[in-house]
């Protein structure tokens, strides 16, 4: 017995030492480790190492809809038109463009541009790239490009893009995922499979090595047409486990780590030599409300009460550690048509919520169901639980229905949700039109059953309106209507958390979450 006690004591001591060690390691500034091992190698090469949560999907730029994949691709491929840091459109492979009529756009292409294999970039490449995605229904990006009817080659450096109708968002379409220019001659000669193995683009960096789920290494393209690339080599590492990614950052194994969980932000801030960068994203979290006649939430007072009962700022502060911005619209700044009066603000008045419920005839409370995915978005379960508690405070008993994403999606696609469901939507078009994709009565049928003929008319007009100023006003008006009618109760714009080696690099997150590495600079 005595021996057993002694042995247990020894084991506990051993564990205790290990425990203290790890605790200390989490809090002590790591001065000697935090100098980057990755930024500069012995040979003096400038190397940048970035850690993401997942590897790129493929080099088929038309067959993925993965932001983190595109974040890597932007360094290898160029669009016709690109967005700068402030999301303003700038010439890239096209030097100028103009609209010839409602459905025809002319693009003048940059001359003297070469693909990584030496092939010159010409109008034939534009035709091949855009028609491939606009015509092949099996490609994941088909839905975003099917509006392009044809690309006509006028001469080697001029193309006409013909759309199926007026397309006010064409330039936005051409400056995003799916628009990177592919080398048509190379693909036609060697086949697409060979291209997938040895992809070439026109971008500032070219592929050196891809070891799937481990690392992707790019090297600078000395023949790049724009400013000289800043890095000799860029390594994108795939580190799925959050704790490991953070540890790599703390030890200097990587210069920049994306998707930092809110719980690790303080650890990175308190560590000498590392810093946190938080930026907005294009995703907005919202509650979708069923307005079908006969449901409890068909009453506008009940919807308003739900809106007023939820303290959105508290969710952002307490659950997301400040990584988000409250909003009353899905069209956030940086998107065409944004209404600044609805952004950065939210309604919260639990007393008025109670009063509204009493007026609606629910003085003794009411019971509704809130469905939410669990594990799909950052802290989604916790957010839904907090909403349940907040609504409970004003007398709304919420049955929380947490589901795994694919099950949730099945119910969502089947339009079988109850009174409320929580979901986040992105907007890769940077245009208000996409934010209303579920608001028109035709699409809303069966989901929210929102039916506002005035809004329908406004959206229809705005969709094809080529007068920018007028179109902007139309969308702002539409946002006000939705904010008043509340088929959707917007919660917050989601933020992105990055950790970076502040001794070595300067980094500012972009709204579109792309990682053009030449915007990351080495500190002198």
């Amino acid at each position: 017995m005595k021996r057993f006690a002694m042995a247990s004591l020894a084991l506990m001591l051993l564990l205790g030492v290990a425990g203290c060690g790890s605790q200390q390691s989490a809090n002590t500034p790591q001065t000697e480790n935090s100098t980057s091992k990755s930024t500069q190698t012995d040979s003096g090469k400038k190397v940048l190492t970035i850690a993401s949560g997942n590897d790129i999907v493929s080099f088929d730029i038309h067959n993925h809809n993965n932001t983190s994949t595109e974040a890597v691709h932007v360094n290898m491929f160029d669009y016709l038109v690109k967005k700068d840091k402030n999301q303003q459109l700038q010439p890239d492979l096209a030097t100028s463009w103009k609209q010839l009529d409602d459905t025809t756009w002319e693009f003048k292409l940059r001359e003297g541009v070469k693909f990584h294999n030496g092939d010159p970039f010409t109008a034939a490449d534009v035709k091949y790239t855009l028609e491939r995605v606009a015509k092949d229904q099996t490609l994941l990006e088909y839905g975003n490009y099917k509006q392009i009817k044809e690309v006509q080659v006028i001469d080697d450096h001029t193309v006409h893009i013909i759309t199926d109708g007026p397309q006010p968002v064409l330039l936005n379409r051409l400056s995003r995922l799916g628009s990177g220019m592919l080398p048509s001659k190379y693909i036609q000669e060697k086949g697409f499979d060979e291209y997938l193995k040895n992809p070439v683009g026109t971008g500032p960096y070219k592929l050196k090595e891809w070891k799937r789920d481990d690392r992707l290494i790019l090297v600078k393209n000395d023949d790049y047409f724009g400013d000289k690339p800043k890095w000799d080599e860029v390594v994108f590492r795939s580190i799925p486990e959050d704790a490991t990614r953070v540890s790599e950052l703390l030890t200097g194994g990587v210069d920049l780590a994306v998707n930092i969980p809110p719980t690790d932000l303080d650890r990175i801030k308190n560590n000498e030599g590392t810093a946190v960068a938080q930026g907005p994203t294009q995703r907005v979290m919202q509650l979708t409300v069923r307005m079908t006649p006969g449901t409890k939430t068909a009453d506008p007072k009940v919807r308003e009460a739900i809106d007023l009962a939820i303290d959105k700022q508290a969710i952002v502060d307490n659950i997301l550690a400040g990584g988000g911005t409250v909003t009353r619209t899905r069209v956030t700044p940086g998107n065409f048509g944004a209404d600044p009066s609805l952004y950065g603000t939210s309604l919260y008045d639990p007393e008025k919520a109670k009063q509204l419920l009493a007026e609606a005839g629910y003085a003794n409370g009411l019971e509704i169901t809130l469905s939410s995915p669990s594990g799909r978005y950052l802290k989604d379960k916790e957010t839904a639980e907090l909403i349940q508690a907040m609504l409970g405070e004003v007398g709304i008993k919420v049955n929380l229905d947490l589901q795994e994403w694919s099950k949730f999606n099945e119910q969502y696609r089947g339009k079988k949700m109850n009174e409320l469901f929580m979901i986040a939507y992105g907007n890769s078009m940077f245009d208000a039109s996409l934010a209303f994709d579920r608001a028109s009565s035709a699409i809303a049928k069966g989901e929210t059953d929102y039916n506002n003929p005035e809004l329908d008319k406004l959206l229809e007009e705005a969709e094809t309106n080529l007068n920018e100023q007028e179109r902007e006003k139309q969308y702002q008006q539409a946002q006000q209507m939705v904010a008043n009618d509340r088929p959707f109760i917007y919660l917050f714009q989601m933020g992105a958390n990055y950790g970076y080696n502040s001794n070595r690099i300067q980094f500012e997150p972009r709204l579109d979450e792309m990682l053009p590495v030449d915007e990351i600079t080495l500190k002198q």
Partner: protein, 305 residues
């Protein structure tokens, strides 16, 4: 021997058939890959087109028979994610997983053999209780926790080993210890009990009474005879190791098959899941067969039928 081998190999076929059915059904009932592949703003029309393109609009049994038809030709279909044949992608990852699994086995053996023998020869001593207690703990520690703790201590705090990735020998140390600990715990306990049983045998008493050195009694007479169950457990631990690679490879972002399988499950990449589970099944069956053969060699008293 020959008959035994042929019979064992023939038995694999129905097992694989059963596995194919289970994996196919499970992968198809747990969720739909189209949802995960398309963006949240995709329309129902986009969905319908993709479902048709992937052949997912056909009845499940038709899909299964098609799958079986391709399977016998070694074709698991194309990965949805990578748009490449699934089997080569899985096989490409095997060397990394083998490297990790073998190193873990080496770590486990290096820990388990001396500790198991010491623990048995010094039964009920402080050391014995310490080792058996440690073995229980080693078995009970979840590998993801142990992995993260090792990273915190040895990589972040002391900076002796790299945090993650593959490349040098140093990259291998922490994952191998993480994966090897559970196996070592199991092996230590087994070596100890096997040794204890043997140490009480008459021939050991005889050996001792002949005046042989204790060292010779322990290693030559007792340990070698305790190896039969140890070999068995080592082979059985292969499946444990393969299971463990799922977690360990993810924690250390080790580019092996476990890491691939986890990503594929998350993305509902059916072809990869099916191919990987198949490869794992074959590995487990083969390692069990090897164990069977090994202890027949070690102990000729065991008959083949």
């Amino acid at each position: 021997m020959k008959k035994f081998l042929i019979r064992s190999l023939l038995q694999i076929i129905p097992v694989l058939f059963l596995i194919s059915l289970i994996v196919f059904v499970l992968v198809h009932v747990t969720g739909d890959p189209v949802t995960l592949m398309l963006s949240d703003t995709a329309t129902d029309e986009d969905r319908a087109i993709l479902i048709k393109a992937l052949g997912l609009d056909q009845p499940l049994y038709v899909q299964y028979f098609k799958f079986l038809g391709h399977l016998v030709q070694g074709d698991f279909g194309n990965s949805f994610r990578y748009q490449e044949p699934a089997l080569p992608i899985v096989l490409e990852r095997l060397p990394a997983s083998f490297e990790l699994a073998i190193s873990s086995m080496v770590v486990a053996t290096l820990i388990a053999i001396p500790l198991g023998i010491l623990s048995a020869t010094k039964r009920n001593s402080f050391l014995d209780v310490f080792v058996t207690g440690g073995a229980v703990l080693g078995k009970a520690m979840p590998s993801f926790w142990l992995g993260i703790m090792l990273i915190l201590l040895f990589a972040v705090h002391w900076g002796v080993f790299p945090v993650s990735g593959q490349g040098t020998f140093a990259h291998l140390v922490l994952p191998a210890i993480t994966l090897g600990t559970g196996v070592a715990a199991e092996m230590t306990r087994l070596i100890r009990s096997s040794m204890l049983e043997i140490l009480q045998q008459d021939y050991i008493r005889t050996a001792r009474s002949k005046g042989l050195l204790e060292r010779i009694v322990i290693y030559k007479h007792a340990f070698q005879n305790s190896l039969v169950p140890v070999i068995t457990i080592m082979a059985l631990q292969t499946s444990h190791l393969i299971g463990g690679t799922l977690i360990t490879e993810t924690v250390f972002s080790w580019p092996g098959m476990g890491n691939l399988l986890i990503q594929a499950v998350n993305q509902r990449d059916m072809a990869i899941v099916q191919a990987a589970v198949f490869v794992v099944s074959i590995l487990v069956i083969l390692s069990n067969l090897l164990a069977d053969l090994a202890y027949r060699v070690l102990d000729p008293r065991i008959k083949y039928n």
